[in-house]
């Protein structure tokens, strides 16, 4: 869409806000530490995300994966009861923190195992997508030309298409069951567009600015310019793009899962929601089935949101003056 955002040029207030451009490598390495002090939102987001990742990784070590399989425990038990279950011919009983679902799974076990799985899919897809997008963005921003034109137009087109629809067609047609890694790979094909746009725009605008030209004139080669001059300044944009891409990828994976197209027999959070819906849990008042995955997802999405919001003043210094 063609738009012109009203850009104020040289409003008298602009001159008073000094935005420090990072210069030098050491400074750019120290920068993250400075941000944490100055940007509590970002800090809170990172903290929450780290907590959720650790929660899943550490927690899943203490959970018997058998409990996350359908048919191991009694069904529809509300939280806090003792359940009997059979594993490898042995009868055991255990305290069920979050109750059991209508298919005989322990909800606590499912949530513990599902959280890292879903975060894993989100990050893997996002990292691959980011890499593609960043490389294309750099190439496009630096060299322009027909390749740039093609990818830019393609990205613009793909952005308006509902990705979930395409993935549904792919998943249904291929019909062979996929695992979480394969799912991440498929999704990564649809999260490179925003990084490409962001990085390309930044590279273009940085090329205009003086210090790049100076570096180029002084004989630095392109890779040096990219890694020593541009990349440090792009860090906030890259970080914000990554957080957004992870959120998009996670949104997509649980969307596929919730339509029953996720990795089969894996207790991902999206699959749990699929089964909860399949068994009409929300309508039957079995809140303990859907609440844990929804809450876990809300916290992960919330942390990503905080990270993006916290990076915003760094990526768009104009916003700083509102505080």
């Amino acid at each position: 869409m063609t738009t012109a955002q009203p850009e104020s040029q040289g409003s008298m207030f602009d001159t008073t806000i000094e935005h420090q451009e990072g210069s030098g490598f050491v400074r750019s390495l120290l920068a993250p530490l400075r941000w944490m002090r100055d940007y509590p939102t970002l800090w809170a987001g990172l903290f929450l995300l780290a907590f959720m990742v650790l929660f899943g990784i550490v927690g899943s070590q203490f959970v018997d994966p058998e409990l996350a399989r359908a048919g191991t425990v009694e069904i529809d038990l509300s939280p806090g009861q003792t359940v009997d279950y059979r594993v490898k011919g042995e009868d055991r009983s255990a305290f069920s923190v979050l109750g059991t679902d209508s298919q005989g799974r322990d909800v606590w076990a499912v949530t513990m195992l599902g959280t890292p799985l879903t975060i894993y899919v989100g990050f893997l897809a996002a990292l691959i997508g980011m890499t593609i997008g960043t490389v294309l963005g750099f190439i496009g921003g630096f060299y322009g030309g027909i390749v740039d034109n093609f990818f830019k137009s393609f990205a613009d087109m793909l952005i308006t298409v509902p990705v979930l629809m395409i993935l549904v067609v792919v998943a249904v047609t291929l019909k062979s069951s996929i695992d979480v890694t394969q799912q991440a790979l498929i999704i990564s094909a649809f999260v490179w567009m925003w990084p490409l746009r962001t990085i390309r725009a930044q590279v273009l605008s940085m090329r205009e600015r003086a210090y790049i030209s100076v570096a180029q004139i002084s004989g630095a080669n392109t890779l040096e310019v990219i890694f020593l001059e541009m990349l440090p300044n792009l860090l906030p944009f890259l970080a914000a793009s990554l957080a957004t891409a992870v959120a998009t990828a996670m949104l997509t994976t649980i969307g596929m899962d919730a339509l029953g197209l996720g990795p089969q027999n894996q207790p991902t959070l999206g699959n749990t929601i699929y089964w909860a819906l399949f068994y009409s849990a929300p309508f039957r008042g079995i809140w303990w089935w859907w609440t844990p995955p929804v809450l876990a997802l809300a916290l992960v999405f919330g942390s990503l949101y905080l990270i993006t919001a916290g990076l915003d003043p760094l990526a768009n210094p104009r916003l700083r003056r509102q505080v």
Binding site: P6, S8, T16
Partner: protein, 338 residues
């Protein structure tokens, strides 16, 4: 240019500013962007206000319009028009006073018009909100008349700002400023973004209209050369203070404050028509940071005539008329030399 006396006896000033102070409260401290600014303009007269960028000219203009926004605040002073102090009016009274008593031709006319509204509606806007009870056709006539006055075709009324050139936009803002015949017009660098030919035309239009309205005008700029051709009196600002005022002739021929002297010296000869752009760039030293203003006279680190007491004592504006030009009116300078 007149040389008659208007020393405060008899008729009263159109605008009388006294001890105006404006501070911006930023995270790194208080910035006194205007401090103790006092001057007055007689009806029908034109006063120029010059100074380096950052010296507080815009701040002074906005303070008179009561348009200082947080983190800024007007800390002291008065600005009297017709016996009424603008700075102590209520919000609503001040709103009504705008356009009818005092009007602004803003700096940066390139972006001063609402990009999504037609020119005519932007002219009518202000009138509507001053409860002008006009019919649609009266408004149409008024817009045509105003556009005509500033030298614009009536078709311009139906155009959008992006369809106009810089000079045309500035003319529209002038049309808006005069739409209710204010007693005082403040023009903040009305020509800074325009090319030289257009600059002159705009200034002439502005001067003409001001004559017609018999309004007083405060003309802000950093191009003394251009300004010298239009103003009667001149004020020089430095680091938020008014350091010297007087008639144009006094300041050009007998500048008292060392800063003014350096300014005038740095100007190419005013008579030489081929190089009449006199930007205030040729002064040695850098303008002081308002965060850490030098003690005493803020100009002393750059002053060639600095004395021992300059860093410790703050000079105030005082009358420094030379006898032989006394009949031209009062000349004041804030300098410890006098």
């Amino acid at each position: 240019m007149s040389a008659e006396t208007h020393a405060n006896g008899g008729h009263s000033a159109a605008l009388d500013v006294n001890d105006l102070g404006v501070s911006y409260y930023t995270s790194s401290g208080e910035i006194k962007a205007a401090d103790g600014v006092s001057f007055s303009i007689m009806p029908g007269k034109r006063m120029g206000l010059v100074g380096e960028s950052g010296s507080g000219k815009t701040t002074t203009a906005l303070a008179l319009m009561r348009l200082i926004k947080p983190p800024g605040r007007i800390t002291k002073g008065s600005a009297v028009i017709d016996g009424i102090d603008l700075l102590s009016l209520s919000e609503e009274e001040m709103r009504t006073a705008k356009l009818s008593q005092i009007a602004l031709v803003p700096q940066g006319a390139m972006n001063s018009l609402n990009p999504v509204a037609k020119v005519k509606n932007q002219i009518i806007d202000g009138l509507r909100d001053h409860d002008a009870q006009h019919s649609a056709s009266q408004y149409r006539e008024l817009v045509t008349e105003l556009l005509d006055k500033v030298g614009l075709n009536r078709q311009v009324g139906d155009m959008y700002p992006h369809e106009l050139s810089g000079g045309m936009k500035q003319r529209v803002t002038i049309a808006i400023a005069i739409s209710m015949g204010p007693k005082v017009i403040i023009a903040d660098e009305p020509t800074s973004a325009l090319d030289v030919v257009v600059q002159r035309q705009i200034m002439e239009t502005l001067a003409e209209l001001q004559d017609e309205l018999a309004a007083a005008i405060l003309l802000i700029g950093h191009d003394i050369g251009l300004m010298a051709q239009f103003v009667d009196t001149l004020g020089v600002m430095y680091a938020g203070r008014l350091v010297e005022t007087g008639t144009l002739r006094q300041l050009l021929s007998e500048p008292k404050h060392p800063y003014t002297q350096m300014l005038i010296d740095s100007l190419p000869s005013l008579e030489r028509k081929d190089r009449k752009r006199g930007d205030l760039r040729g002064i040695p030293g850098t303008a002081p940071s308002l965060y850490a203003l030098p003690s005493g006279c803020p100009f002393h680190p750059r002053c060639p005539q600095a004395m021992d007491i300059c860093p410790s004592e703050e000079p105030l504006l005082k009358v420094v008329n030379d006898d032989h030009v006394a009949n031209q009116g009062e000349q004041q300078a804030a300098c410890l030399l006098y």
